[in-house]
Symmetry: C2
Subunit: 250 residues, 2 copies
């Protein structure tokens, strides 16, 4: 449906329990360093699949797919500046492009919900809060910079369960990065997110919990001002054939 | 001690609970494809650290180390043929070499022992049985071929525990690849291993259990006959500063 232009909207809530992925497309000449950056920073940058230079099919996780047409909205950046926001990549495709599919939070969010933890944004078109932290990623080649985290309010009596439930999914950001004290990771004011939306706690006992965020690799790559970089448009993810449980380690 | 030539022996049983690693060194021009091969085959090829081209220090997992001197025995292959087995790499080092440290079985073997599962070879200089299976790895660039597995006899009433205990360590091969039926993975005769040693079951109730083996990436890389490839000599591993538990996902 996305390929035929019949589904032109964010993918949250679509095809529940199938793994969705962030997209980052870069030229082959920086692909090794970018893959190395992901290997060194697996919590913000879990690699679901890498599509070889010039190939367009995610053969391992979505056979029959075409990365140029199977997302409903893309962003094209040239030298770090947004240059286009097209419905498909026909005008931009080159044979030296390597496509990285990176884990996104939808799988682990479902794990939280399955464990009785309410997430008010889940399945809506609203977004979580995201913050740029003082936690430095481990650099690789031209790629370096601070980790971005997503924030969720978790009821105090569910914090342990939230750690357990998300630890099972290291390929979709895994266990939290931090629990409880935003200032400890460089967040001065929990009510002014750097990205996404503001969320109030549902109860005064709710605890702020932070997970590594898939925005990190995009931010870091963009900082290096690559000649060309293509990503999904926020919320318009690539949908794989994997089930969430396929990614569980235990 | 290894660097000074004062410890010239296999590293099994040395520095217990510190993570040891397989070594594979390849020229930069095949490094992306090799890293991609590891990403696509994480059970046989778990990446602990990648040392950038021309660098010699495992800065993340063993600060102060020198990959050219800190293993006690190396193997140097040229075009897929063993060319040298030196104590250090001074005669072979080049600035375009990328070093891959890959997880080895020692960490998960300790997890088995800690769970009351006896491994008769553990801490001795004897080796497990290894088999070339009919399970194909997922190719990347020039790298492809069958998965090699290691074999251990596990008491029937400990098989579930063995799965649980090793699942915690995906970076040291993780959960078993197969339980119970060697023929199902292309092993015709359990008493004739392709590599390593023959082991008899301690009891007729023992179950054959198979884990993905770190010999796989070496075998696969060698098959592609790279102009230069350097590995550790069997049993002479690289010792990191990580503790086994640092690698546990849960």
């Amino acid at each position: 449906m996305i390929r035929e232009g019949r589904l032109h909207r964010p993918t949250s809530g679509i095809a529940p329990h199938f793994v969705q992925a962030n997209l980052a497309i870069l030229p082959r000449d920086v692909a090794f360093e970018f893959l190395l950056f992901c290997q060194r920073n697996p919590k913000p940058c879990p690699v679901i699949e890498v599509i070889d230079a010039g190939q367009v099919e995610a053969a391992l996780t979505a056979p029959g797919s075409d990365i140029r047409t199977d997302l409903s909205l893309y962003r094209v950046f040239k030298n770090g500046e947004l240059a286009d926001e097209p419905d498909n990549l026909e005008a931009h495709w080159r044979d030296d492009l390597v496509s990285f599919l990176l884990g996104c939070s939808y799988s682990f969010e479902y794990a939280l919900i399955a464990n009785g933890i309410d997430l008010p944004h889940y399945g809506t078109d609203r977004n979580v809060s995201m913050f740029i932290t003082n936690i430095e990623t481990t650099p690789a080649g031209p790629f370096s910079g601070p980790m971005v985290v997503s924030h969720r309010w978790i009821p105090q009596d569910k914090v342990v369960r939230a750690v357990q439930a998300t630890s099972r999914f290291p390929d979709t950001h895994g266990a939290p990065i931090h629990i409880g004290n935003p200032e400890a990771i460089g967040i001065a004011d929990i009510s002014t997110p750097d990205l996404g939306e503001i969320w109030e706690p549902a109860s005064p006992d709710d605890v702020p919990v932070f997970w590594a965020c898939g925005v990190t690799p995009q931010t870091v790559a963009m900082e290096s001002k690559p000649e060309l970089m293509i990503t999904h448009s926020p919320g318009h993810m690539f949908i794989t054939d994997l089930n969430d449980e396929d990614l569980a380690v235990l």
